[in-house]
């Protein structure tokens, strides 16, 4: 997998910090992600993964520190960052009362795709995500896996160099999860898109990530490829054991009521 990764960083995070009152959600996070890399952000609930993604997608200003996405500062060049990224939030972000095609059309217009190209690009995006036959149907009638694939199509219509996904497979059954991942990997292969995503599923990290970062209580606890992290513990250790070591044994230690209810609501809507 690593052979497709270019060595120039497309995402550089330096001492990124976000506080909410006295609570520090993300604490001095420093790391970089290379162009074309599939990068997983892991951690228990409340570890700071979603807050990190929100800062990198310019939805939340950092308290201190800096990050550059595709060379643009999230603090001073937010609009350029937004042009350079695609974002698939954890919650459902397409409109169920419109068709798949209409959901894509609105974003084609918002991202200034040339008018004469819009139809073709939407058709390509639908085909790429295996939704050609369903473009004219109301999204309210889609299955959970189809909704996620449409969201990815919507977020990548403008061919961003970086795609952020917050728990892209939460609430999906294993078959739908595999389909989503197949399309995500294809996206990287076809367009060199860098994928940065959060997940609770360790097998996804193991199966797809070039590198992972494990966050714990807002801090970077470990960084490297799954193999490297497992090897650093000596032979015979699983990623699960590595995760428990760095993220703490108390998997349910964090996360606000809102985080948990949002996650369950998403799972319910997609499931």
């Amino acid at each position: 997998m690593l052979q497709t990764v270019m060595s120039d960083p497309v995402l550089e995070i330096e001492h990124l910090t976000r506080r909410f009152g006295s609570f520090t959600a993300v604490n001095e996070l420093t790391l970089s992600v290379n162009a074309g890399e599939i990068f997983g952000l892991l951690g228990s609930n409340g570890a700071g993964k979603t807050t990190t993604i929100k800062m990198l997608t310019t939805l939340l200003p950092p308290t201190s520190g800096e990050a550059r996405v595709a060379g643009f500062s999230i603090r001073t060049r937010a609009v350029q960052v937004r042009r350079a990224i695609g974002y698939v939030p954890q919650a459902v972000s397409v409109d169920g009362s419109l068709t798949g095609y209409e959901n894509l059309l609105i974003f084609a217009k918002l991202y200034d795709l040339p008018h004469h190209e819009q139809k073709d690009r939407i058709a390509q995006a639908l085909e790429f995500m295996g939704l050609t036959a369903d473009g004219g149907r109301l999204v309210g009638q889609y299955s959970g896996g189809m909704v996620r694939r449409l969201e990815i199509a919507q977020a990548t219509l403008h061919r961003p160099p970086v795609l952020f996904l917050d728990e892209p497979t939460v609430g999906l059954d294993p078959i739908a999860r595999d389909a989503v991942w197949k399309h995500l990997v294809d996206l990287r292969t076809a367009y060199g898109t860098t994928l940065v995503f959060t997940t609770h599923y360790l097998e996804e990290a193991e199966g797809h990530c070039d590198r992972i970062a494990i966050m714990h209580l807002g801090k970077l606890a470990a960084l490297g490829s799954c193999k490297e992290l497992e090897a650093s513990f000596g032979g015979g250790h699983t990623l699960n054991e590595v995760f428990v070591h760095y993220a703490g044994v108390t998997l349910d230690s964090g996360g606000t009521f809102r985080d948990v209810s949002a996650e369950r609501a998403t799972a319910q809507r997609l499931g």
């Binding site: 937004r82 042009r83 609105i106």
Partner: protein, 264 residues
């Protein structure tokens, strides 16, 4: 990535209409909303309007009461629907739609104004039903194209104004429960401290003063002078437009500042 060199103002106007289109496309798949919107003004005109015009308790000068109240009910029904527009925004926040739009390069003010305009276009169904009922009830309407155009623009602007106000409240309270409470608290004072169902002349002086700071008063005044064949304006159509447009601009600016807070 698609490189673009679009003038900020052109981009803003273009994106505003894309957001309006996004909202209006939903209507193509669900007409029910337009029908339910028409019920409330029908009840007010047919029951409240009819009863009070027989009673003769309202002194509306040479204008029959049913004529007087018709533009007021149109403004009221626009207010009553638009003031709850913010609930949609809270719903979109609970999903991830707000976040996805905010992570796009769309100007924040275009997100806010585009939604406002869509509420404006939707409210034209209420204008249609009020006109139909007015014909039925014998209201003497002004059918000149200019007058109709004024009504059209005023209704769209009024719904834009109040739905943007609603969006601002939604950005502040953020939850459905709180929003419903605040919406109820705001609707009635706005309605009663206006010239919608009685002339400001019969108000106590303190309420009359309050009504001059109420944008609904100017909406009703503008609608009354445009809709009816013979009705003098209290403020002049120019002042009505000025107040409505300026209030909307201020609310859009506030909304654009607050809207990103929905994603945090």
């Amino acid at each position: 990535m698609t490189p673009t060199c679009i003038h900020p103002l052109t981009g803003f106007i273009e994106k505003t209409f894309v957001i309006t289109e996004f909202e209006l496309r939903k209507l193509r798949h669900d007409f029910m909303e337009l029908i339910t919107r028409a019920l409330q003004p029908a009840l007010w005109l047919l029951i409240f309007g009819e009863v009070f015009s027989r009673n003769g308790a309202m002194h509306t000068g040479t204008t029959p009461y049913i004529d007087f109240i018709a533009p007021g009910i149109l403004a009221q029904s626009v207010l009553f629907v638009a003031i709850f527009y913010g609930i949609n925004v809270i719903w979109e926040r609970d999903l991830g739609i707000v976040q996805k739009f905010l992570a796009s390069p769309t100007p924040r003010a275009a997100l806010v104004l585009g939604k406002g305009f869509s509420a404006g276009v939707r409210s034209l169904s209420q204008a249609t039903i009020v006109y139909l009922l007015s014909i039925l009830l014998g209201v003497k309407l002004n059918w000149s194209p200019l007058a109709l155009l004024n009504v059209l623009i005023l209704v769209i602007l009024a719904a834009t104004l109040f739905s943007t106000f609603s969006l601002v409240i939604a950005c502040i309270v953020k939850t459905r429960e709180r929003f419903m409470g605040v919406g109820q608290v705001l609707t009635m004072p706005l309605f009663f401290a206006s010239n919608a169902i009685y002339p400001t002349a019969i108000m106590p002086s303190w309420l009359r003063l309050v009504s001059h700071f109420n944008p609904l008063t100017y909406v009703v005044d503008g609608l009354r002078v445009s809709m009816l064949a013979a009705s003098p304006s209290s403020f002049g159509l120019g002042q009505d437009y000025a107040v409505i447009i300026l209030t909307t601009i201020v609310l859009v600016i506030i909304g654009a500042r607050l809207y990103p807070h929905l994603a945090t």
